[in-house]
């Protein structure tokens, strides 16, 4: 690895930064590519580094999850892998943006239409009556025409409102169907990943127990329930560790001893 801290460049498999004022968390973030400074050039860390790439006394650890990631770093596969890849691909394709809905339109009340229909009928009756007695029907004709026009406009608006409503419902339903599908796939994926993790943990439990015995310090009764620091060191011994591991623990005699024990490049902070 090559590491540059405030003007000084460090190289080699073991770097001791205890005298430098730089936090382990910062270095670990640089190693994982989440920060640009300080500049660290090293091989890409596998995913397990997200759990155990920085070992320090106040860390927490989901040991099983980390152990499964360690198994993955060694290239272990599970019977669930194909299904996991399939669900992931399906989910990636299902990222629907919410649809554009037409603005809602106030519905035209049936009572309005009924009233207008009544008015048209009344005017028509009046017109017929005037025509029957041969009276002047110009005003009655105009009134009927106005009422009929008004009715037709309202009916058109009612139809438009209904269509808008239908369209809004259809689009919303299609979108929610997709959300449902997404939820189902995400559930399936979570289940598959749990099963895969269990498979990986089962496969590594023995190796992990031996690994945790090999790191300095008291041997825990139950490896999977060990405290975070010894558990993390055990996981590191199981994992493939091409990238530097950041250690803030006094468990080892020296950074070199740590590097030998973990078979990993080490940055001691």
């Amino acid at each position: 690895m090559k590491l540059r801290v405030a003007g000084t460049t460090y190289t080699g498999a073991v770097v001791d930064l205890r005298t430098r004022n730089v936090g382990g968390r910062t270095i670990a973030a640089s190693i994982r590519g989440q920060r640009r400074f300080p500049v660290v050039s090293c091989p890409e860390p596998p995913a397990v580094y997200a759990y155990v790439g920085h070992v320090h006394p106040s860390m927490g650890l989901r040991t099983r999850t980390a152990l499964a990631a360690a198994a993955r770093s060694r290239g272990y596969e599970t019977p669930q892998d194909d299904a996991i890849a399939d669900r992931r691909a399906q989910l990636a394709e299902l990222e629907p943006p919410p649809p554009e809905l037409p603005d809602p339109v106030d519905p035209v009340p049936e009572s309005t239409i009924d009233g207008l229909q009544e008015a048209v009928a009344t005017h028509r009756g009046r017109l017929t009556a005037r025509q029957a007695v041969g009276a002047d029907d110009e005003a009655a004709r105009a009134a009927l025409r106005d009422a009929a026009t008004e009715l037709s406009e309202r009916e058109t608006r009612r139809t438009a409102a209904r269509e808008t409503r239908e369209l809004r419902r259809e689009r919303a339903r299609a979108y929610r169907d997709t959300l449902e599908k997404q939820r189902r796939l995400a559930d399936e994926l979570a289940n598959l990943r749990r099963r895969a993790r269990a498979t990986l943990v089962d496969r590594c439990t023995e190796t992990f127990a031996q690994a945790i015995e090999a790191v300095p310090g008291p041997v825990p009764d139950s490896p999977l329930d060990a405290d975070p620091v010894p558990a993390a060191l055990g996981v590191l011994r199981v994992a493939r560790t091409p990238a530097p591991v950041v250690l803030e623990t006094d468990r080892f005699r020296s950074p070199t001893a740590a590097s030998d024990c973990l078979d990993a490049p080490v940055v001691r902070c």
Partner: protein
């Protein structure tokens, strides 16, 4: 009444909060859905969720239902099918040869 269904975690969380804070307008709460009272206040709470979460919140009008609201032949079919002696008989086979509507016949008719 109003049926409020949520489709995202955030919407579900807010629905739970509304249900907790405004029990008076909640008729029933299910996992990620709830039945609000058919009042303006119920609508107000439902619309608040909709304003915040948009299409992740679905609101439907729900009407009370009584069996007598559906035609007699449907009720009769349900009653006789549930009283069948062979539990494994699918409805389609049960209906044929009896004086009962076929499933497709039922499917095609709106209530």
């Amino acid at each position: 009444m109003l049926l409020v269904v949520t489709y995202s975690r955030a919407a579900r969380r807010d629905l739970r909060n509304v249900c907790r804070a405004h029990e008076d307008c909640v008729v029933r709460q299910f996992g990620r859905a709830a039945l609000f009272s058919g009042t303006e206040f119920g609508a107000f709470q439902a619309l608040r969720l909709h304003e915040k979460h948009r299409l992740d919140v679905q609101i439907e009008h729900v009407e009370p239902f009584e069996p007598t609201d559906v035609p007699k032949h449907v009720r009769e079919a349900a009653k006789r099918y549930e009283a069948r002696e062979e539990p494994a008989t699918p409805y389609e086979r049960f209906a044929s040869g009896r004086d009962l509507p076929e499933p497709d016949q039922l499917r095609g008719v709106d209530l």
